[in-house]
């Protein structure tokens, strides 16, 4: 059955993927067929009005109530370009679908809403009066009605909240089935959270990531760059068991005191504590050999050097200008603080995909952010995202951060098992990174190699060398 799906006019790229992910969570269709979508005639794909084909009211309600970006999911009773057309459409909508919601025992409410224009209170009242041809028999209840009806209008004048003009004015009337509970966002907003880091994920995005990862009670979710736990909080809210690791022990262990740390962030919202937090390096993960397919989802925001640079194990100190064998004297071992080295985006993503390929269950999801440089016009629209033989990329949603950077939320599903060959290829690559790293150390240009790894980002077959770009300095523009 087709439903009218009205979105909030924000995070445009994230809206359909969210509904698609939730449809997979609630609809249980084993056929794996993509959802069917259409937009009203003459509407732009970024219009808030969409139609989506779902199996039942219950599925539509579950999706809408769990989502962050669906303003409402409606059973459409009629639409038209004029009020007359709308009346015709509503009158010809089958009575057996309308009458259960119009009975005298029920209560109802009609809300008038508009997109791209403002309607005065008087106009809104007029619109409601004009609906008199619908035989409402129930009583009006504005606060807690049994049935909520919506009349929604778009206008046909030029600008439309920054969208290309909608050529045709459209009016929709429908019965609300469900809608997003946006009160989650003020509840979890970062400004009232006790322990924050410079790159804490905002609450709305953390929930969107959890939705992309199909989080539900009993699932085990891992974040290898946990930081203050902001992403896992989203997953824990939806019932997941969470586990996180970070290379910075001050963040995971100490925080800013007994009531301001990762644990207190979970406590603050009454969420179950993570089942495990540890200090570990994503480059050399301490998982036991043979451990695989334990996590249902891996959700993370890798350190990609814009706001915070990544670190991995390995000496950065040079002894007499060469990288010699580095030994820690035995008497200093207990309190030794191992040095860390910069971690390039390319290596970080390689390690992440390898870890996810090994540790996710089949059908498990890897959800993470990937940075994109916007200034390079050739890149816009045809960015090549990381690939892995075990994974299928199912959605990519861009969020523009500044005129130079945007980040893309990638959702990948593990379709094929992690084989010996794949593991071996990953080992070879890991060694290669290690050797390169030593080379950079000796050349003395490790900073530029890590933060402008242009030659590595060049995809084979792409003849345009990226290395001529101006050097970029992290933190300068964002």
């Amino acid at each position: 059955m087709w439903y009218l799906c009205v979105f909030f006019h924000r995070l445009l790229d994230y809206r359909r993927p969210e509904v698609e992910a939730l449809a997979e969570l609630f609809q249980h269709n084993s056929s794996n067929e993509p959802l069917e979508w259409r937009v009203p005639e003459n509407h732009h794909p970024d219009s808030p009005f969409h139609f989506v084909n779902l199996s039942s009211d219950d599925v539509a309600r579950d999706i809408a109530n769990r989502s962050l970006l669906v303003k409402g999911m409606y059973e459409l009773w009629g639409e038209g370009s004029t009020l007359e057309e709308l009346e015709q459409a509503i009158k010809s909508y089958p009575d057996e679908r309308k009458s259960p919601y119009l009975s005298s025992e029920s209560t109802f409410r009609i809300t008038v809403d508009s997109f791209g224009k403002v309607m005065s209170f008087e106009e809104q009242n007029n619109r409601i009066q004009q609906l008199a041809y619908i035989p409402f028999e129930g009583r009006v209840n504005l606060k807690h009605p049994d049935h909520k009806f919506w009349l929604m209008e778009t206008d046909d004048h030029g600008g439309n909240n920054g969208l290309p003009p909608v050529v045709q004015k459209r009016i929709f009337f429908g019965r609300e089935i469900g809608g997003s509970d946006r009160t989650l966002i003020p509840t979890y907003q970062l400004k009232s959270r006790k322990y924050l880091g410079p790159t804490a994920m905002d609450a709305e995005m953390a929930f969107l990531m959890a939705n992309q990862a199909l989080v539900k009670p009993g699932k085990l979710v891992y974040d290898p760059f946990v930081g203050t736990g902001s992403i896992l909080i989203g997953a824990a809210h939806f019932g997941a068991m969470t586990m996180g690791a970070d290379i910075d022990i001050r963040v995971v262990r100490d925080g800013r005191g007994p009531d301001r740390n990762v644990w207190s962030n979970f406590k603050q919202y009454g969420l179950p504590m993570p089942v495990g937090l540890l200090r570990a390096d994503n480059n050399l993960p301490p998982w036991r050999p043979g451990l695989k397919e334990v996590f249902d989802a891996i959700i993370c925001d890798p350190p990609y050097g814009v706001r915070a640079g990544g670190r991995k194990s390995g000496g950065r100190k040079l002894l007499k200008g060469v990288v010699g064998p580095y030994t820690v004297p035995d008497d200093k071992r207990t309190d030794h603080i191992p040095s860390t080295a910069p971690y390039s985006l390319v290596e970080c993503v390689h390690d992440l995909l390898d870890l996810a390929a090994r540790m996710l269950v089949i059908g498990g999801r890897l959800v993470y952010f990937f940075p994109v440089l916007r200034e390079d016009e050739a890149n816009v629209g045809n960015t090549v995202f990381p690939e892995h033989p075990c994974f299928e990329l199912i959605s990519s949603s861009e969020q523009i951060l500044s005129s130079r950077y945007s980040r893309v939320l990638l959702t990948m599903v593990k379709r094929r098992p992690y084989t010996e060959e794949i593991a071996e290829a990953a080992r070879v690559k890991h060694t290669e990174f290690r050797e390169n790293h030593v080379k950079w150390l000796e050349d003395g240009n490790i900073h530029s190699s890590v933060f402008t790894p242009a030659d590595q980002l060049t995809v084979s077959g792409d003849t345009k060398p990226l290395r001529d770009l101006k050097p970029k300095y992290r933190g300068k523009y964002v």
């Binding site: 009670p217 009993g218 085990l220 068991m241 586990m243 290379i247 022990i249 995971v252 262990r253 100490d254 179950p272 504590m273 089942v275 495990g276 937090l277 540890l278 200090r279 570990a280 390096d281 050399l284 993960p285 301490p286 998982w287 036991r288 050999p289 451990l291 397919e293 334990v294 194990s313 390995g314 000496g315 064998p325 580095y326 030994t327 820690v328 071992r333 207990t334 030794h336 191992p338 040095s339």
Partner: protein, 122 residues
Amino acid sequence: MRLLTHNMLSSNIKAVANGFPLRIDAEKVIHKEVDLNPDFLRNIFSRIEWRALADAARSLGYAELPEEAEESMLESEEFLGKFHHALLEIHLEEGALVCPETGRKFSVSKGIPNMLLHEDEV
């Protein structure tokens, strides 16, 4: 650190062939009640190295787990309860995990195991 985490970790020092299971040096062990989730336990059961879990639990003073376990035992509520307690409710708060081959200690403080390697171990 719960024993679930312990069951997943090994000493990944270069040249260590078998860093699992890590021995536990306990200074402070605490118990925290956690809601029992049977689905989670049934899912995770096949990923657990049972012998390592039973030994670790015993070394922390909980000797109720059988030496061997198999899928069918998950039907029993009593077994689920014990499995749940050992896996999720016993916490090593202070102490260390010890590499079975080299004796290297990975300290555990405030419940967080520090698995980062020194420069000469990577």
